[in-house]
Assembly symmetry: C2
Homo-oligomer: 123 residues x 2
DNA sequence: TTGCTCCTCACGTCACGTGAGGTGGC
DNA sequence: TTGCTCCTCACGTCACGTGAGGTGGC
Protein backbone atom coordinates (compact mmCIF):
# COMPACT_ATOMS: atom_id res chain seq x y z
CA UNK A 1 0.00 0.00 0.00
CA UNK A 2 1.82 3.08 -1.29
CA UNK A 3 1.22 6.62 -0.05
CA UNK A 4 -0.72 8.88 -2.41
CA UNK A 5 2.01 11.45 -2.82
CA UNK A 6 4.49 9.27 -4.73
CA UNK A 7 7.43 11.08 -6.34
CA UNK A 8 9.60 9.90 -9.21
CA UNK A 9 13.36 9.95 -9.14
CA UNK A 10 13.66 13.10 -11.26
CA UNK A 11 11.35 15.02 -8.95
CA UNK A 12 13.39 13.96 -5.96
CA UNK A 13 16.54 15.07 -7.77
CA UNK A 14 15.01 18.45 -8.55
CA UNK A 15 13.91 18.98 -4.95
CA UNK A 16 17.34 18.08 -3.57
CA UNK A 17 19.64 19.59 -6.20
CA UNK A 18 21.06 16.25 -7.27
CA UNK A 19 20.54 14.07 -10.37
CA UNK A 20 18.72 10.76 -10.89
CA UNK A 21 22.09 9.08 -11.34
CA UNK A 22 23.24 10.29 -7.92
CA UNK A 23 20.11 8.86 -6.33
CA UNK A 24 20.64 5.51 -8.01
CA UNK A 25 24.28 5.49 -6.99
CA UNK A 26 23.39 6.15 -3.36
CA UNK A 27 21.00 3.23 -3.55
CA UNK A 28 23.72 1.07 -5.10
CA UNK A 29 26.14 1.67 -2.24
CA UNK A 30 23.46 1.29 0.41
CA UNK A 31 23.20 4.92 1.50
CA UNK A 32 19.56 5.08 0.41
CA UNK A 33 17.30 2.06 0.99
CA UNK A 34 16.07 0.04 -1.98
CA UNK A 35 12.30 -0.44 -2.00
CA UNK A 36 11.66 -4.13 -1.24
CA UNK A 37 8.77 -4.89 -3.59
CA UNK A 38 10.09 -3.14 -6.66
CA UNK A 39 10.10 -5.08 -9.96
CA UNK A 40 13.42 -4.85 -11.83
CA UNK A 41 13.02 -2.30 -14.59
CA UNK A 42 10.08 -0.50 -12.98
CA UNK A 43 10.16 3.09 -11.74
CA UNK A 44 11.47 3.98 -8.31
CA UNK A 45 8.88 5.74 -6.13
CA UNK A 46 9.61 8.10 -3.25
CA UNK A 47 7.75 10.20 -0.70
CA UNK A 48 8.35 13.57 0.92
CA UNK A 49 9.93 11.65 3.75
CA UNK A 50 12.70 10.41 1.50
CA UNK A 51 13.31 13.91 0.19
CA UNK A 52 13.78 15.21 3.73
CA UNK A 53 16.15 12.41 4.61
CA UNK A 54 18.21 12.89 1.45
CA UNK A 55 18.43 16.63 2.13
CA UNK A 56 19.85 15.95 5.56
CA UNK A 57 22.39 13.50 4.20
CA UNK A 58 23.48 15.94 1.49
CA UNK A 59 23.92 18.83 3.86
CA UNK A 60 26.05 16.70 6.18
CA UNK A 61 28.12 15.53 3.23
CA UNK A 62 28.68 18.96 1.69
CA UNK A 63 29.12 20.99 4.83
CA UNK A 64 31.36 18.54 6.65
CA UNK A 65 33.15 17.17 3.61
CA UNK A 66 32.98 13.50 4.59
CA UNK A 67 32.97 10.47 2.31
CA UNK A 68 29.81 8.54 1.45
CA UNK A 69 31.17 5.63 3.45
CA UNK A 70 31.58 7.74 6.57
CA UNK A 71 28.20 9.28 5.90
CA UNK A 72 26.55 5.88 5.79
CA UNK A 73 28.14 4.85 9.07
CA UNK A 74 27.09 8.09 10.69
CA UNK A 75 23.50 7.73 9.49
CA UNK A 76 23.39 4.11 10.62
CA UNK A 77 24.74 4.94 14.05
CA UNK A 78 22.28 7.75 14.43
CA UNK A 79 19.30 5.51 13.89
CA UNK A 80 20.90 3.18 16.44
CA UNK A 81 19.93 5.52 19.24
CA UNK A 82 23.36 6.93 19.99
CA UNK A 83 21.72 10.10 18.77
CA UNK A 84 22.86 12.61 21.36
CA UNK A 85 26.52 11.69 21.33
CA UNK A 86 26.59 11.88 17.57
CA UNK A 87 24.80 15.17 17.49
CA UNK A 88 27.45 16.53 19.82
CA UNK A 89 30.15 15.34 17.46
CA UNK A 90 28.40 16.83 14.47
CA UNK A 91 27.99 20.11 16.31
CA UNK A 92 31.67 20.18 17.08
CA UNK A 93 32.59 19.57 13.43
CA UNK A 94 30.20 22.27 12.31
CA UNK A 95 31.49 24.78 14.80
CA UNK A 96 35.09 24.12 13.83
CA UNK A 97 34.13 24.57 10.21
CA UNK A 98 32.27 27.76 10.90
CA UNK A 99 35.28 29.20 12.68
CA UNK A 100 37.43 28.44 9.67
CA UNK A 101 34.93 30.25 7.47
CA UNK A 102 34.91 33.22 9.81
CA UNK A 103 38.67 33.37 9.76
CA UNK A 104 38.64 33.20 5.97
CA UNK A 105 36.05 35.95 5.85
CA UNK A 106 38.19 38.19 8.05
CA UNK A 107 41.21 37.57 5.87
CA UNK A 108 39.27 38.45 2.75
CA UNK A 109 37.93 41.63 4.32
CA UNK A 110 41.45 42.69 5.24
CA UNK A 111 42.60 41.83 1.75
CA UNK A 112 39.86 43.95 0.25
CA UNK A 113 40.76 46.86 2.51
CA UNK A 114 44.36 46.69 1.40
CA UNK A 115 43.37 46.42 -2.25
CA UNK A 116 41.12 49.45 -1.94
CA UNK A 117 43.70 51.63 -0.23
CA UNK A 118 46.20 50.61 -2.89
CA UNK A 119 43.75 51.78 -5.51
CA UNK A 120 43.19 55.10 -3.71
CA UNK A 121 46.93 55.71 -3.35
CA UNK A 122 47.26 55.44 -7.12
CA UNK A 123 45.17 58.51 -7.97
CA UNK B 1 69.75 31.47 -7.44
CA UNK B 2 67.53 29.58 -5.00
CA UNK B 3 66.48 30.87 -1.58
CA UNK B 4 68.19 29.30 1.41
CA UNK B 5 65.01 27.95 2.98
CA UNK B 6 64.25 25.34 0.32
CA UNK B 7 61.57 22.78 1.22
CA UNK B 8 61.02 19.36 -0.30
CA UNK B 9 57.67 18.14 -1.51
CA UNK B 10 57.04 15.98 1.57
CA UNK B 11 57.65 18.90 3.90
CA UNK B 12 55.23 21.04 1.93
CA UNK B 13 52.67 18.24 2.11
CA UNK B 14 53.13 17.97 5.87
CA UNK B 15 52.71 21.73 6.35
CA UNK B 16 49.54 21.86 4.24
CA UNK B 17 47.87 18.59 5.18
CA UNK B 18 48.14 17.13 1.69
CA UNK B 19 50.36 14.44 0.14
CA UNK B 20 53.27 14.63 -2.31
CA UNK B 21 51.02 13.07 -4.95
CA UNK B 22 48.48 15.86 -4.55
CA UNK B 23 51.19 18.45 -5.03
CA UNK B 24 52.43 16.75 -8.18
CA UNK B 25 48.90 16.45 -9.49
CA UNK B 26 48.26 20.16 -8.96
CA UNK B 27 51.43 20.87 -10.89
CA UNK B 28 50.28 18.50 -13.66
CA UNK B 29 47.01 20.33 -14.19
CA UNK B 30 48.63 23.76 -13.94
CA UNK B 31 47.26 24.81 -10.57
CA UNK B 32 50.76 25.04 -9.09
CA UNK B 33 53.60 26.42 -11.26
CA UNK B 34 56.34 24.07 -12.43
CA UNK B 35 59.83 25.36 -11.63
CA UNK B 36 61.42 26.33 -14.97
CA UNK B 37 65.03 25.19 -14.50
CA UNK B 38 64.26 21.80 -12.97
CA UNK B 39 66.00 18.74 -14.46
CA UNK B 40 63.61 15.84 -15.12
CA UNK B 41 63.99 13.33 -12.31
CA UNK B 42 65.41 15.82 -9.83
CA UNK B 43 63.71 16.91 -6.62
CA UNK B 44 61.12 19.67 -6.57
CA UNK B 45 62.07 22.56 -4.30
CA UNK B 46 59.67 24.96 -2.60
CA UNK B 47 59.75 27.98 -0.30
CA UNK B 48 57.52 29.23 2.51
CA UNK B 49 55.87 31.37 -0.13
CA UNK B 50 54.60 28.33 -1.96
CA UNK B 51 53.30 26.84 1.27
CA UNK B 52 51.28 29.97 1.95
CA UNK B 53 49.86 30.03 -1.55
CA UNK B 54 48.92 26.35 -1.44
CA UNK B 55 47.21 26.85 1.92
CA UNK B 56 45.06 29.61 0.46
CA UNK B 57 44.12 27.48 -2.53
CA UNK B 58 43.21 24.53 -0.32
CA UNK B 59 41.05 26.57 2.01
CA UNK B 60 39.15 28.05 -0.94
CA UNK B 61 38.70 24.60 -2.42
CA UNK B 62 37.54 22.92 0.79
CA UNK B 63 35.42 25.67 2.21
CA UNK B 64 33.69 26.65 -1.02
CA UNK B 65 33.58 23.20 -2.55
CA UNK B 66 34.68 24.24 -6.06
CA UNK B 67 36.48 22.11 -8.64
CA UNK B 68 40.20 22.43 -9.33
CA UNK B 69 39.37 23.89 -12.73
CA UNK B 70 37.26 26.64 -11.21
CA UNK B 71 39.91 27.16 -8.57
CA UNK B 72 42.58 27.67 -11.23
CA UNK B 73 40.46 30.22 -13.07
CA UNK B 74 39.72 32.05 -9.87
CA UNK B 75 43.40 32.19 -8.91
CA UNK B 76 44.39 33.32 -12.41
CA UNK B 77 41.78 36.05 -12.48
CA UNK B 78 42.86 37.27 -9.07
CA UNK B 79 46.41 37.82 -10.18
CA UNK B 80 44.97 39.62 -13.21
CA UNK B 81 44.03 42.60 -11.04
CA UNK B 82 40.29 42.05 -10.91
CA UNK B 83 41.06 41.44 -7.28
CA UNK B 84 38.33 43.43 -5.57
CA UNK B 85 35.45 42.10 -7.62
CA UNK B 86 36.57 38.57 -7.05
CA UNK B 87 37.05 39.10 -3.35
CA UNK B 88 33.47 40.33 -3.21
CA UNK B 89 32.29 37.19 -4.94
CA UNK B 90 34.32 35.00 -2.62
CA UNK B 91 32.91 36.83 0.37
CA UNK B 92 29.41 36.25 -0.86
CA UNK B 93 30.04 32.53 -1.31
CA UNK B 94 31.56 32.32 2.14
CA UNK B 95 28.70 34.17 3.76
CA UNK B 96 26.12 32.01 2.07
CA UNK B 97 28.00 28.96 3.25
CA UNK B 98 28.28 30.28 6.78
CA UNK B 99 24.55 30.86 6.91
CA UNK B 100 23.93 27.27 5.83
CA UNK B 101 26.20 26.11 8.62
CA UNK B 102 24.42 28.29 11.14
CA UNK B 103 21.07 26.92 10.05
CA UNK B 104 22.41 23.40 10.35
CA UNK B 105 23.75 24.18 13.80
CA UNK B 106 20.37 25.49 14.91
CA UNK B 107 18.64 22.40 13.59
CA UNK B 108 21.05 20.15 15.44
CA UNK B 109 20.61 22.07 18.66
CA UNK B 110 16.83 21.71 18.36
CA UNK B 111 17.27 18.03 17.61
CA UNK B 112 19.42 17.58 20.69
CA UNK B 113 16.85 19.39 22.83
CA UNK B 114 14.10 17.09 21.60
CA UNK B 115 16.27 14.01 22.14
CA UNK B 116 17.05 15.10 25.68
CA UNK B 117 13.46 15.80 26.63
CA UNK B 118 12.48 12.43 25.17
CA UNK B 119 15.07 10.84 27.43
CA UNK B 120 13.78 12.72 30.48
CA UNK B 121 10.18 11.77 29.73
CA UNK B 122 11.20 8.13 29.84
CA UNK B 123 12.13 8.06 33.54
C1' DT C 1 0.66 7.58 -31.10
C1' DT C 2 3.85 11.06 -29.52
C1' DG C 3 7.02 13.05 -25.87
C1' DC C 4 8.78 12.76 -21.70
C1' DT C 5 10.95 10.49 -18.03
C1' DC C 6 12.24 6.39 -16.49
C1' DC C 7 15.12 1.82 -16.67
C1' DT C 8 19.76 -0.98 -16.95
C1' DC C 9 24.34 -1.72 -18.55
C1' DA C 10 28.79 0.03 -19.16
C1' DC C 11 32.39 3.06 -20.23
C1' DG C 12 34.32 7.96 -19.11
C1' DT C 13 36.05 11.47 -15.80
C1' DC C 14 37.87 14.04 -11.82
C1' DA C 15 40.98 14.10 -8.01
C1' DC C 16 43.74 11.86 -6.36
C1' DG C 17 45.79 6.72 -3.99
C1' DT C 18 48.91 3.11 -4.59
C1' DG C 19 52.37 0.15 -5.89
C1' DA C 20 56.61 -0.86 -9.23
C1' DG C 21 61.09 0.13 -10.14
C1' DG C 22 64.72 3.30 -9.82
C1' DT C 23 67.70 7.49 -8.34
C1' DG C 24 69.46 11.34 -5.08
C1' DG C 25 71.02 13.57 -0.68
C1' DC C 26 72.25 13.67 4.69
C1' DT D 1 77.00 1.99 2.55
C1' DT D 2 72.48 2.29 4.63
C1' DG D 3 67.80 4.60 5.12
C1' DC D 4 64.96 7.89 3.87
C1' DT D 5 62.58 10.63 0.68
C1' DC D 6 62.33 11.67 -3.75
C1' DC D 7 61.41 10.59 -8.98
C1' DT D 8 58.37 8.80 -13.09
C1' DC D 9 55.14 5.73 -15.14
C1' DA D 10 50.81 3.58 -14.86
C1' DC D 11 46.95 1.30 -13.08
C1' DG D 12 43.20 1.60 -9.23
C1' DT D 13 39.40 4.05 -6.82
C1' DC D 14 35.60 7.11 -5.41
C1' DA D 15 31.60 9.64 -6.78
C1' DC D 16 29.39 10.28 -9.94
C1' DG D 17 28.58 11.91 -15.68
C1' DT D 18 27.26 10.34 -20.03
C1' DG D 19 25.67 7.99 -23.82
C1' DA D 20 23.37 3.43 -25.82
C1' DG D 21 19.39 1.01 -26.27
C1' DG D 22 15.00 0.04 -24.54
C1' DT D 23 10.45 0.36 -21.73
C1' DG D 24 6.51 2.79 -19.04
C1' DG D 25 2.93 6.37 -17.91
C1' DC D 26 0.06 11.01 -18.75
Amino acid sequence: VKSERALRIGQVAERTGTTPRTNRYYEEIGLLPRAPGREPGSHRLYEENDVERLRELLSLKDLLGISLDELRELAAAESAREAIGHIERQLELIRRRRKELERLEDELIAKRRRARSRLRSIH
